[in-house]
């Protein structure tokens, strides 16, 4: 069922030319800024937009082959798609929305509804089955949209910014659930997002797309550790630390503790943005809860700031101004104190 796509499609001044391969059970995140051609790629994969050139195959099936004149329209492809703003049909109940794909493929109404209710239970909104989508919260609607996409056991799952319409808190829970469902899903998944956190948390592999081209590909850790373009660096410029939540502290897998504002439990990620890290030559006064004695590993100019890679109890990235960098008298190997406000640290389930 694995997906192989190598397509070219013109969209106004931009030519999108992308090749991707996704194995069965694998989640590929396509990460990039708005207008990079991510959604265009997804529309091509979905069959909503015929490519100008190239091929799309899923397992043994050819969905697009421009040279051979093959184009299977969207409704002939066995796929599921989740849209940014869910696009649940407002005139149908949640159950009938989820059952829609089964009905169009010839499943009888009672059986389709039964399957829909099973899926609603799996995504945890069984009690909302008879509601209209207009009366769902954003998170509930996105769960229903996921059920609608997965109920037909698709060969390919396409997720178009599935979390970006949600508020921060809902996003955390829905992201953790989505991660669980993706782990259980046997087909190939392509996730389009402009949020590196989504990509890091959900994907097995990431391709970064800029102006219609792949600029970097690799595992999430790879891409975030070794950004190859300025965009990627800024995009993933955050320290992502795995750990175990214990109330408002997280015990890091690599040793050390981080105080956070939100309570968490179990396996979590802690994400620290470099700009929220403050550096001091001596232990800072007052009692910030996150203070670590670290050592500077390397420093690289990064826009108008200097990005400092720090090691010690907690590996961190810190952005400081050139003036501050000079004032601190920093050089590789220099000891330095770092502090981060608990409220500026994101924590989310792994």
């Amino acid at each position: 069922m694995s997906l192989a796509a190598d397509v070219r499609v013109g969209r106004g001044p931009l030519t999108v030319e992308l090749g991707i391969e996704v194995a069965d059970g694998e989640v590929l995140a396509v990460l990039g800024p708005n207008g990079a051609g991510k959604s265009t790629l997804l529309r091509v994969l979905a069959g909503l937009l015929p490519p100008d050139d190239g091929r799309v195959t899923v397992g043994q099936e050819t969905w697009d082959d421009v040279d051979a004149g093959v184009h299977v329209p969207a409704h002939g492809r066995r796929l599921g798609m989740v849209f940014q703003d869910h696009l649940l049909f407002p005139h149908l109940s949640v159950t009938d929305n989820v059952a829609f794909g089964l009905r169009t493929r010839g499943v009888r109404k009672p059986a389709a509804r039964r399957a829909a209710r099973d899926w609603l239970a799996r995504v945890g909104i069984a009690e909302l089955a008879d509601r209209r989508p207009g009366r769902l919260s954003g998170g509930q609607a996105q769960r229903a949209a996921l059920a609608r996409a997965l109920v037909g056991d698709p060969a390919l799952l396409l997720l178009d910014e599935p979390l970006s319409a949600l508020d921060a808190r809902t996003r955390l829970t829905v992201r953790a659930e989505l991660r669980r469902h993706l782990a259980e899903y046997a087909g190939s998944t392509v996730l389009v997002t402009h949020d590196p956190v989504d990509a890091m948390a959900l994907a097995d592999r990431v391709v970064v797309v800029e102006e219609g081209r792949v600029v970097q590909a690799g595992t999430p850790a790879d891409v975030s550790r070794h950004p190859r373009t300025d965009y990627v660096a800024r995009l993933v410029g955050l320290a992502l630390l795995p750990g175990t939540g214990e109330g408002t502290t997280v015990r890091l897998d690599g040793g050390g503790r981080v105080a956070v504002a939100e309570e968490s439990a179990g396996e979590v990620f802690v994400a620290v943005r470099p700009e929220s890290v403050a550096l001091y030559p001596a232990r800072p006064e007052g009692s910030p809860r996150n203070v670590w004695s670290l050592r500077l590993v390397s420093a690289t100019p990064h826009g108008s700031t200097v990005r400092c890679e720090l090691d010690g109890e907690v590996p961190l990235l810190a952005d400081v101004t050139g003036a501050a960098y000079a004032e601190l008298g920093l050089a590789p190997g220099t000891p330095v104190w770092a502090s981060v406000k608990a409220s500026e640290i994101a924590v989310y389930a792994r």
Partner: protein, 267 residues
Amino acid sequence: MRRRRREPGVPVPLLVPAVLAVAFLLLPLAGLVVRAPWGELGPQLTSPAVGQALRLSLVSATAATGLSLVLGVPLAWVLARSTARGRSVLRALVTVPLVLPPVVGGVALFLVLGRQGILGSWLDGTFGVTIPFTTTAVVIAETFVAMPFLVISVEGALRAADARFEDAAATLGADRWTTFRRVTLPLVAPGIAAGAVLCWARALGEFGATITFAGNFPGTTQTMPLAVYLALQQDPEAAIVLSLVLLVVSVATLLLLRDRWLSRAVR
């Protein structure tokens, strides 16, 4: 949130013409109500001639609306969704009956569907069917004049509807026909209903094309507007009564439109 007007009140140069406009629009209707022979209303209304004309009007306007729905909704879809070239030309042509004097429409219909007409002579020769001066002619004349109202209204609703719902339906295995039936149609139902009411009201009041193409025969082609016109020359009181009936029907239609659909369909 709607922004508030900076100053309360209306400037006099705008207020005076606005009041005149209201008077201009409402006084004739008020006159109709005042002059109505309220005492004889009962007998007038129950006279067979009125009943006949009213029934014919309602039946033919409803039939014209039905025909407009069957033909006009698909046409609106083509105008709103098709990417074929010449669409704007098609739209312009389709809306010609909106601005065309109805009498001209009646003449045109007569030239095509009349006994000597291009289609009419063939229909007559092959099937022995004659259309002019029949109730069918009334329905055709009304449809010709009223269908553009429906097409424009439904096309607007289709354009306003989020086409991405149709994408979503396609990814769920629905072909375009299934998508149209199960997603598009329910989404634009309020627009279709509003268009149908407009179309029906226009068909009910249709005069020029009807009298030209269908004539003025009581029982078969004499609709309410034709009856009013005829009555005015012979029995003005009857004309007033008939007009009152049409006024009531129109106002009822307007209320129905506003309360049920207009607020949602026309945003």
